[in-house]
Amino acid sequence: MSVENESKMGEFESVVKDGAIDLLNKLEVGDFSGAIKIIQELSEARHKSFYNEVGYLTRSLHDAIRDFQIDSMDMMMQGGVPETEVGSRITDASDRLNYVIEMTSSAANKTMDMVDSSVPVASELQMQARELHKDWNRLIQRDLTPQEFRDLYKRIDAFLKYTDESATTLHNNLNTILLEQGYQDLTGQVITRVNELIRDVEERLVHLVSVAGRVDSISGMEHESETKERDDDRGHGPAINKNDNPEVLNNQDEVDDLLSSLGF
């Protein structure tokens, strides 16, 4: 409760105290019309005080609700829309978490695709090496016919070529897997932000509940919404719903176009 409100409550109490003494005095001297007038004044003072109290609580409630809206714009990716729903940051957090799910799922799938395409290559290499090894041992033991030797000669040549190609394939697959791990950076940034939001919302919710607990009836009040742009320098993190925002570029090509328009 604010100091201002407390002093108003104190004012009302002293009005009641003074009024009660006056009332008793009037009753003792038999001045009933004077007594009724005092009762009316007290009733008016009570109304006025109640009105002030409701006004104060309404303002507090409004501030608590508005606290939910502040900062919502920077989470909304600077859509330029001044009015937002109370739940917009929550909706946006939900979008962000969906983005995490998409990114992690896509990375996991791509990684598994690479593993799937690598395993047969490794198996084939192993099988061919084992076959050759058998005949190679026979060669060492001088156990091969001339025809078998000529075949082995060709097979080794083919195997070396296949090994080279396979190593290239495996190398590329491993590189793709490595690159896919980049999702950890992007999703890590998103989750950190959502965590901040959750802490914020909890704090404000506690405040809202404490105010709302004291409000029995709320008179209508005009809501002003405040917007706060997040500082570009501090960064915004990965953009979600890029297509909804003309200020956010969608891909490297758009970035390149913008830079070349700047003379890059």
């Binding site: 600077q78 590189n175 490595l178 690159l179 791990q181 980049g182 999702y183 950890q184 950076d185 992007l186 890590g188 940034q189 570009d232 320098d233 501090r234 960064g235 915004h236 993190g237 990965p238 953009a239 890029k242 200020e247 956010v248 570029l249 969608n250 891909n251 490297q252 970035v255 913008l258 830079l259 700047l262 890059f264």
Partner: protein, 126 residues
Amino acid sequence: MKILIVDDFSTMRRIIKNLLRDLGFTNTVEADDGTTALPILQTGTIDFLVTDWNMPGMTGIELLRAVRADEKLKTIPVLMVTAEAKRDQIIAAAQAGVNGYVVKPFTAVALKEKIEKIFERIDSAK
């Protein structure tokens, strides 16, 4: 050619380091934000800077401005590799004197292309 990689996520530093190795740049050092990167740069041994934007402490754009404002460091080529994709931010980076800008998630090809382009420009300026 010694390259400094600045990113707060070790995974991303590792990715960039591996891609650079594939491109033939094996001499790399790492830092996790601008504050830790600057002292490394000031040793005067870094020839190329690859930095993220959004980092705790000193951000990439602040690091870029600090590098350009430093008489000894201002000619170091800077490649930004970041998830920040707002038009105003890219313009700000260009104005601050960035040499290349790669948005995450990126491909090995995109990174290679930007790095080669930066070196081409440096060579042709010589």
